[in-house]
């Protein structure tokens, strides 16, 4: 036994995770670089002057579209915050842990809802012939004016993002130690003092990351703008890219717009990384206990809370009710028999399931590999995944279109491109959900597993999968829901031969077949919830089958 540094096998680096995770990270970076280089190739100034011409003639238009995109995203994020923060506090004050848990589960409906379905629901409530117009006509004789335009876009963005923010705020409030509520009650703190000393410190750190991520989601919003924008005055970079590519076939313009979009999104993602917003994607906050406080009994506080909660329910629940009530119509049995519906259903289902499984598997492998690296190594994995927050589906689609159009028939391989794009777009969310738990498991179980000789498949089957099952189910369900609701890539590559349910719904709405569209919206929403639920519960059921230690 000679002196000198000993070499022992690193107990963390065994298994196939590391090579597979590295392969995944390299693959992700390569795809993004390939798309980027295609965009740069098509969008950069060329000797024939084509792109310079595009740039010179359209610079004003690009700036205007970029400016509007930035403006609507900022306004959407701010309004979502303005709605979510007071409602979260009102809910926290007024509801029991049980009801809070169910309200949180309910908020999933809006998070996983396809945007095309949401538009149908929002029009059912706020549209010219919607429920609110119906009430107003009964009261004052005239209803609401058409909801299209910036107002409609903001309403839709708040509908989607306020529940997301609400969940995170309630999670933040749940993390306040019970002792602080006891002290507040004992000292008789006023509402303002309680907010300043207890609630605000728990919430303020969440706000920058949350606002940034909602800004990014609204900045890259596509189908809502396409369906509710109402014209060229309300158009974003995403929609302009789509128009340039699909209608004008102006590749340099599409590439240029994509590069502008990519640059701004990359800057936002960099800010997000600095803000360390990892904790924002949670499965479900576990509501803590809040003691009743002296101010809770005041009548004006109770009335204000009731008004806030009722307003939020009107915003979030009314469109859901509209989707259900309007969807159950005479058109429903008719729509179910459409051959186009069958084709779209099968395509959507296959793409959603496969892309969800791929995204979850890749996210798991990369998260598992990540914990076996030091800080720099981990950063590479995070960057490889976060790239796809910056490279939105439409930018990726445009890049792939330009890259592949000379090589293959891009419309012929549309299903594959859709699958790839949906997987990549879902990946950052799936990764965030899994990575935090994986980190925690590695910290608490690596040594124990090494000492018990639990390695490889045996460790995954008996220990990792059962512990990670809720996160895996959630990540797969979320990925499937995102894929089912996606209308971005299919808008680029869809055709009569290949279309998905959101695209079919959009086309039906565009033909003003409102009843058929409502029935389709209900079917798409039901399928989304079904797939989300199956993945969520399926992982937990599978866990029970896998971990019988004594088998």
């Amino acid at each position: 036994m000679a002196d000198g540094p000993h070499q022992i096998a690193d107990y963390k680096s065994h298994g196939a995770y590391v090579p597979l995770g590295m392969l995944g990270a390299v693959g992700l970076i390569m795809i993004a670089l390939a798309a980027l280089s295609a965009l740069l190739g098509a969008g950069a100034p060329r000797s024939d002057g084509l792109t310079e011409g595009v740039l010179a003639g359209n610079l004003h238009r690009v700036w205007r579209v970029a400016g509007f995109t930035f403006w609507q995203a900022s306004l959407s994020a701010f309004l979502s915050l303005l709605v979510a923060l007071p409602v979260a506090m009102a809910l926290w004050r007024r509801t029991s842990a049980w009801r809070l848990k169910h309200l949180n589960s309910f908020s999933f409906f809006t998070i996983v809802m396809p945007t095309t379905v949401a538009v149908s629901g929002l029009l059912g409530v706020w549209g010219q012939n919607g429920a609110v117009s119906f009430l107003l006509r009964a009261i004052r004789g005239d209803g609401l004016s058409p909801i299209y335009g910036l107002g409609a876009v903001l309403l839709a963005h708040v509908f989607f993002n306020a529940p997301l923010m609400l969940r995170v705020f309630i999670s933040g409030l749940s993390s306040i130690p019970a002792a602080q509520w006891r002290l507040a009650a004992q000292w008789g703190l006023s509402d303002w003092q309680r907010f300043r000393l207890i609630e605000w410190p728990a919430l303020k750190n969440l706000i920058p990351g949350l606002v940034t991520i909602v800004f990014l989601l609204c900045f890259t919003s596509f189908s809502l703008i396409l369906m509710l924008g109402g014209g060229p005055a309300v158009t974003t970079l995403e929609v302009s890219i789509y128009t340039a590519l699909r209608f004008d076939f102006d590749l340099p313009m599409a590439a240029l717009l994509s590069l502008v979009q990519l640059t701004i999104c990359a800057a936002v993602v960099a800010i997000l990384a600095l803000l360390d917003a990892d904790g924002l994607v949670t499965i479900a906050p576990s509501p803590g206990r809040r003691l009743r406080q002296p101010g809770d009994a005041l009548i004006w506080t109770a009335l204000l809370d009731a008004a806030l909660i009722a307003g939020f329910l009107l915003l979030a629940v009314a469109p859901l009710c509209s989707i259900i009530l309007e969807g159950i119509s005479e058109s429903l049995p008719n729509v179910i028999t459409w051959p186009a519906f069958h084709r779209a259903l099968i395509a959507s289902f296959i793409v959603a399931v496969v892309s969800a499984l791929l995204a979850t598997t890749l996210a798991t492998v990369m998260a598992a590999a990540r914990v076996r690296f030091n800080r720099t190594g981990r950063w590479v994995f995070d960057i490889a995944v976060s790239l796809y927050l910056a490279v939105s589906a439409i930018v990726l689609g445009t890049g792939l279109f330009i890259l592949l159009r000379g090589v293959v028939d891009v419309f012929g391989i549309a299903p594959l491109l859709l699958l790839l794009a949906n997987m990549l777009v879902a990946l950052p969310f799936a990764y965030r959900v899994i990575q935090g738990k994986m980190e925690m498991l590695a910290r608490s179980q690596d040594r124990l597993c090494a000492s018990l000789d639990l390695r490889g498949w045996r460790r995954f089957r008996l220990v990792t999968f059962p512990a990670l099952a809720p996160e895996l189910g959630f990540a797969a369900g979320l990925s499937a829901a995102l894929s089912l609701g996606d209308m971005t890539v299919i808008a680029l590559f869809g055709s009569q031969q290949f279309q998905t349910l959101p695209w079919l719904l959009y086309q039906t709405m565009a033909r003003y077949r409102a009843e058929d569209a409502a029935a389709l919206a209900l079917l798409l929403f039901a399928l989304t919830l079904l797939l989300f639920g199956v993945f969520l519960k399926g992982a937990t059921l599978l866990r029970g089958r896998l971990y019988h230690v004594t088998d």
Binding site: I8, D10, R447, A450, S451, D453, L462
Partner: protein, 207 residues
């Protein structure tokens, strides 16, 4: 015999540890000393979670240093995080058996006996979240005893138990170490532990 000679380890530039000790089969060694003198580090070196910079670490003449943790004849009861939250107490014990080791009727009887001896009777099918921290540590001890590896490492494993319960654990520990010819290293900050066990003490000091 567990034999450690001039085993060196450094945490950065500041902390340097050197260990010289031996533990015979059937013996328990109580390692004591203030915080930061390297008690847990010693166990990590023996278990293979840290690599020494120099020196030797052997078991019955075999060099343990090149071996990864799962190939060492060692089992450890950690200070915390000994149980898997999704497994029942029984499954947490059985999972300690190697992939090739079967749950034989004789092993089942042995597991039951340990559960009874350590005051855990009736808790076999409870989940870790349904028992106390002290009970969790005792379940981990049952697993370590069932694994019956020749070297047993205990890192402040019973600090959370009250003295009466700790004595019962020590009684079981002494029986198993003697009957299985094991070498046990117990890190503890309570001087009563070594006195009750009647074992040799190793007091580590800074520097």
């Amino acid at each position: 015999m567990l034999l450690i000679e001039e085993l060196r380890f450094s945490w950065g530039e500041e902390l340097h540890f050197t260990y010289d000790l031996s533990v015979a089969r059937g013996e328990i060694l109580a390692v004591q000393g203030p915080s930061g003198v390297g008690k847990t580090t010693l166990l990590e070196l023996i278990a293979g979670f840290q690599a020494p910079t120099a020196g030797s670490l052997g078991w019955d003449g075999d060099d343990l240093c090149p071996l990864p943790p799962w190939q060492r004849p060692v089992t450890t009861v950690f200070q915390t995080d000994n149980l898997f939250a999704h497994l029942s107490c029984f499954d947490n014990v059985v999972i300690g058996l190697g992939p090739e080791e079967k749950v034989t009727p004789a092993r089942l009887v042995k597991i039951h006996e340990f559960f009874v001896q350590l005051g855990l009777e009736g808790l076999q099918h409870r989940m870790p979240s349904q028992i106390s921290g002290g009970q969790q540590q005792r379940v981990a001890l049952v697993r370590a005893l069932i694994r019956a590896r020749p070297i047993l490492l205990l890192d402040e494993s019973f600090s959370a138990l009250d003295w009466e319960m700790r004595k019962e654990c020590f009684d079981t520990l002494k029986d198993v170490v003697t009957s299985h010819d094991m070498a046990a290293v117990l890190v503890s900050h309570d001087t009563r532990d070594a006195a009750y066990l009647g074992c040799r003490e190793l007091r580590l000091a800074a520097g």
